[in-house]
């Protein structure tokens, strides 16, 4: 009886074999073959030249994830302490921007950060640049420094800072929501018990709340880190072409100007392996429960 009903999964198992497993195998096959068709390791030999991009992608993704955590954890914690009505409205407010396509939200930052953008216009309107130039001038004459005194704008767009900002902006809700949903479900009496038993607020947080919220944190970190490390649209829009990330490198080989799907596959494969390894190591710290905290 039991076995017969498990047959319901059969069509999907076939589907998975065709559209999940086969594509990944193809990536592996492409990664180890040359454009002419033979087997080769050449694609991986070329990889050495791209370690800068790997480093940069992982670095920016780690920074973005850390910033999301530093902002997201306290916000989730504060939210969970509020009344049910407030919590409800706040959750909706955090989810709402996610319903708007992330490209639109990223594009909005372009107009804000550009050299002639809103922020620089604002700075110029409040005469911030005059002030900066005056201060630099004074410092120059006082200490013989060579600071620029003709600053007309701050360079914000097309920098790695702008890319990190874009990642944080887009993925912050992915950090807040899982942490919040774990904290909101947490049994308050545990905290009270800890306090009753003489724990200081800090100790109660460290020994009760933090460990209990860890699954939410891990889930949030994964949900921010993976899209950050592989993005190509955010770096393209906010980094100009000055901040090439792994995603851009892969896109370049498939639909961009350097058509070479074999190399693109090799880069994808290496990225996939590193990301899976990171996730595995990280999840060893938590309970490797296969339950992603959904919205």
């Amino acid at each position: 009886m039991k076995n017969r009903r498990s047959l319901f999964a059969l069509p999907y198992v076939v589907w998975m074999a065709l559209f999940v497993v086969a594509p990944i195998l193809l990536v592996v096959v492409y990664a180890f073959s040359s454009a002419a068709g033979g087997a080769t390791l050449e694609n991986f030999r070329d990889m050495g030249g791209y370690w800068v991009v790997f480093l940069r992608s992982f670095e920016l993704a780690v920074v973005a994830t850390a910033v999301c955590l530093v902002i997201g954890y306290p916000i989730s914690y504060l939210m969970a302490r509020e009344g049910p009505r407030f919590q409800r409205v706040a959750t909706v407010l955090i989810m709402l921007p996610m319903w708007m396509n992330f490209l639109l939200r990223t594009y909005a930052w372009m107009s804000i950060l550009e050299n002639t953008g809103l922020l620089n216009r604002l700075f110029s309107a409040i005469r911030l640049f005059d002030l900066v130039n005056a201060v630099s001038g004074a410092l120059n004459s006082a200490f013989g420094l060579k600071l620029a005194t003709d600053v007309q704008y701050f360079q914000m767009i097309n920098t790695s800072g702008a890319v990190v900002l874009g990642m944080v902006y887009n993925y912050l809700p992915f950090m807040i929501l899982p942490i919040y949903s774990v904290l909101a479900k947490m049994d308050r009496s545990l905290l009270e018990a800890a306090r009753d038993l003489g724990a200081s607020p800090a100790a109660a947080f460290r020994r009760v709340i933090l460990p209990l919220s860890l699954p939410g944190v891990l889930s949030g970190v994964t949900m921010v880190f993976v899209p950050s490390v592989s993005t190509f649209a955010i770096s393209r829009l906010l980094g100009g072409s000055n901040v090439m990330l792994l995603g851009n490198l892969i896109e370049l080989q498939f639909t961009g100007s350097s058509y070479d799907p074999q190399l693109g596959s090799a880069i994808s494969l290496v990225m996939m392996v590193i990301v899976v390894a990171c996730m595995y190591v990280m999840n060893r710290f938590g309970e490797g429960e296969e339950q992603a905290v959904m919205l």
Binding site: K2, R5, S6, L7, F8, A9, P11, Y12, V13, W15, F19, V20, P23, L26, V27, G49, L78, M79, V92, L93, L96, P97, M98, M100, N101, F102, L103, L104, Y107, A108, S111, I112, E114, G117, Y169, V226, S230, F232, A233, S241, N242, M244, G247, N248, L249, Q253, T255, S257, Y259, D260, P261, S265, S268, M272, V276, M279, E290, A292, M294, L295
Partner: protein, 653 residues
């Protein structure tokens, strides 16, 4: 908890919300701006909304997005529910590895999922198409050739949606009392009956939740669609990405505002209903009824909204049976011509754009194509011709070819002129902002000069960018000497290292040069004239070292699905009237000899003033300028590989 603490917490939350909403607010405000500037307020208007609804590309992509979201979420919900029941009834030993595979699309980076499925489709269609071709030739059958498109997009969306459905149905199955099904069966129910009467009601919240998540994921997806939709199908997200790479129009802001307001309204309605429901909770019977009706109402409401939208779009679309898929450059055609052609012939034009020759080539090769007409430049025509990608044209269907100046026929890229019809021609040069540089620019050296650090926009395609280096060094743009090419690359790499380049751009150049974001750019003469209309401080120069002279030509792909319509389109575009209108819109010189000669008169009639001869000379470069220019030839494969390699390394920085 003391009040001060709470105040601080709330302040932090308000700041976070401000951070989340400020950019959206900016987008919305500027959708009403009476100017195409994204940062200067010029007054209130609703024009962008009007234009939005007339923009066939945006409306079409909205239709695709909704249709694929609706279909994929419904299919995924049914398939995922059955799969979850199947998994649930499996032995743990079998289930665990299958669940791991099921989780792959959720945990993998989107780009890897997208790229891997793209490879699968390319490989499968490649195999099928060559098989079909052989069969057709040998047995006279007419097996169709396949290309990526709506079908592959749908498969991809179903694939990444099912795991979310399983994830949301599985916990409900675990919570269900197993004895219920057995009890129903003991009482004489068939298993199917038990499923519909007992299991389904129990797991319904999970199924509904799965459906909603799947729908949201599908609407929100960009990356996977980008790699699996093929070149002729476009979702809203893909269209937006395409738009951000061109002259940015506030139509984007209008789209965002409408989307945002729609979602906001939906959420408000849902929440109001649920609040009513919680108020009704005091009376348990009423509560149960209102809860059920509220949930049903919400889903019905959302479903009805989507259906109404689809129907509206279907009605507003001219649903012509004949279609032609055209791939051109951004800002490179007068949209009125597309409208006119559609009205005259009843053929719907699906107009897509590519950023540059190399990008278009990737799309044609990787996408299994689907385009009918493409507009590559000379050297790319040659390369594609040699690779057997182009179809021979039937010039009997293109009588207007006779209007084309003989100078542009039988050129080296198509010596017998079997494959191409010239579309436009022009020169590459330097565009600079006279208010931002001290002295007129006359040499390519400005592009490598640290004095202009952060002020230069380098062109974002390998042939032109490395070509600039070659021209500056006095080498031929068609050199195959590795040393010379590497020397040119070195110039670019050093300038990049010194921070000369603000960015590498293609059509983003319009916005940036018009707004004074950058002082110097490398781009094409026609586009300069379009920018000059909006910023008279700009100037154009063909540098003293000489430059590139190019012809963009219309070609039909060998596996084009609509060859006849394609030739009709080409013939239409070659007519003198179309060439005049097009020249007036895109400012690229036409190879139609009469249109080019008549243009100044046409301009005078249209605008009531004489055309500045200097501008005409930029559009249609005179003999003496062209004498110093060289056309690109197709390069041998090993030189192409060198270009690709250097280009990738240059991008890394």
């Amino acid at each position: 908890m003391n009040g001060k603490n709470r105040f601080g917490g709330r302040l932090a939350m308000v700041l976070t919300f401000l951070f989340l909403y400020a950019p959206i607010f900016v987008l919305m405000v500027f959708s009403f701006n009476d100017s195409s500037s994204r940062t200067l307020w010029k007054g209130f208007t609703l024009d962008w909304y009007g234009e939005l609804f007339q923009d066939g590309i945006i409306i079409n992509s909205l239709y695709t997005t909704l249709l694929v979201a609706l279909l994929s979420s419904l299919i995924a919900t049914v398939a995922g529910t059955f799969a979850a029941i199947g998994f649930f009834n499996m032995k743990r030993r079998v289930r665990t590895p299958l669940m791991t595979i099921n989780n792959i699309p959720m945990t993998n980076a989107d780009i890897v999922t997208g790229v891997s499925m793209c490879l699968l489709f390319v490989a499968a269609f490649g195999a099928w198409n060559s098989f079909a071709q052989q069969m057709n030739e040998a047995n006279g059958t007419s097996l169709p050739s396949l290309a990526m498109g709506f079908g592959t997009l749908l498969i991809a969306h179903i694939t990444f949606n099912i795991p979310y459905v399983i994830l949301s149905v599985m916990p409900k199955l675990r919570q269900m009392d197993k004895n219920l099904v057995e009890a129903a069966q003991d009482l004489g129910c068939t298993w199917m009956g038990a499923f519909f009467k007992v299991v389904l009601p129990e797991i319904k919240p999970g199924v509904v939740n799965g459906l909603l998540i799947a729908f949201t994921m599908s609407v929100d997806d960009f990356v996977i669609s980008y790699f699996t939709a093929g070149p002729t199908t476009s979702t809203l997200a893909m269209t937006i990405y395409g738009m951000t790479k061109k002259r940015i129009s506030p139509k984007i802001n209008a789209v965002s505002t409408l989307l945002f307001v729609t979602v906001l309204l939906l959420l408000v309605i849902v929440n109001l209903r649920e609040m009513q429901q919680s108020r009704a909770k005091k009376d348990p019977r009423r509560a149960a009824r209102s809860a059920a009706s509220s949930r049903r109402g919400t889903i019905l409401g959302a479903g009805a909204l989507a259906a109404v939208l689809l129907a509206l779009i279907l009605l507003s679309r001219q649903n012509n049976s004949r279609v032609v898929n055209v791939c051109g450059w951004g800002e490179n055609i007068d949209p009125a011509l597309i409208e006119q052609f559609q009205e005259e012939t009843g053929i719907r034009v699906n107009y897509q754009t590519a950023e540059g020759n190399e990008t278009m080539y990737s799309k044609v090769v990787l996408g299994g194509s689907g385009y009918d007409v493409i507009v590559p430049s000379d050297y790319m025509v040659s390369q594609m011709r040699q690779e057997g990608l182009l179809a021979e044209l039937d010039f009997a269907n293109i009588p207007n070819f006779s209007l084309i100046d003989d100078t542009y026929k039988h050129l080296s890229y198509d010596p017998e002129n079997l494959y191409s019809v010239p579309y436009t021609w022009g020169t590459l040069g330097i565009i600079y902002n006279t208010a931002m540089v001290d002295e007129p620019i006359t040499s390519w050296s400005a592009l490598f000069d640290p004095q202009y650090a952060g002020q230069v926009l380098m062109i974002n395609n390998p042939r032109d960018a490395i070509g600039v280096g070659l021209m500056y060094l006095g080498y031929s743009v068609n050199t195959t000497d590795e040393g010379e090419i590497r020397e040119a690359y070195q110039l670019l790499a050093e300038a990049r290292e010194q921070g000369v380049y603000q960015s590498f751009v293609m059509d983003e150049v319009y916005d940036k040069m018009e707004a004074g974001e950058a002082a110097i750019a490398v781009y094409y003469a026609g586009d300069f004239l379009a920018m000059y209309e909006n910023n008279p401080d700009l100037a154009f120069v063909v540098p003293q070292e000489g430059s590139n002279w190019f012809v963009d030509a219309m070609c039909v792909l060998k596996d084009a699905p609509h060859k006849e319509a394609a030739e009709e389109w080409i013939n239409f575009i070659c007519s003198t009237d179309a060439c005049l209108a097009n020249m007036d819109y895109i400012w690229y010189a036409s190879p139609n000899v009469q249109a080019l000669a008549d243009y100044p008169a046409y301009y005078e009639e249209l605008y009531g003033e004489e055309m500045d001869p200097a501008l005409y000379a930029i559009m249609a470069a005179p003999e003496e300028v062209l004498a110093g220019c060289e056309a690109y030839d197709a390069l041998p494969a090993e030189t192409n590989d060198l270009y690709k390699e250097l280009w990738t390394v240059l991008g890394i920085g």
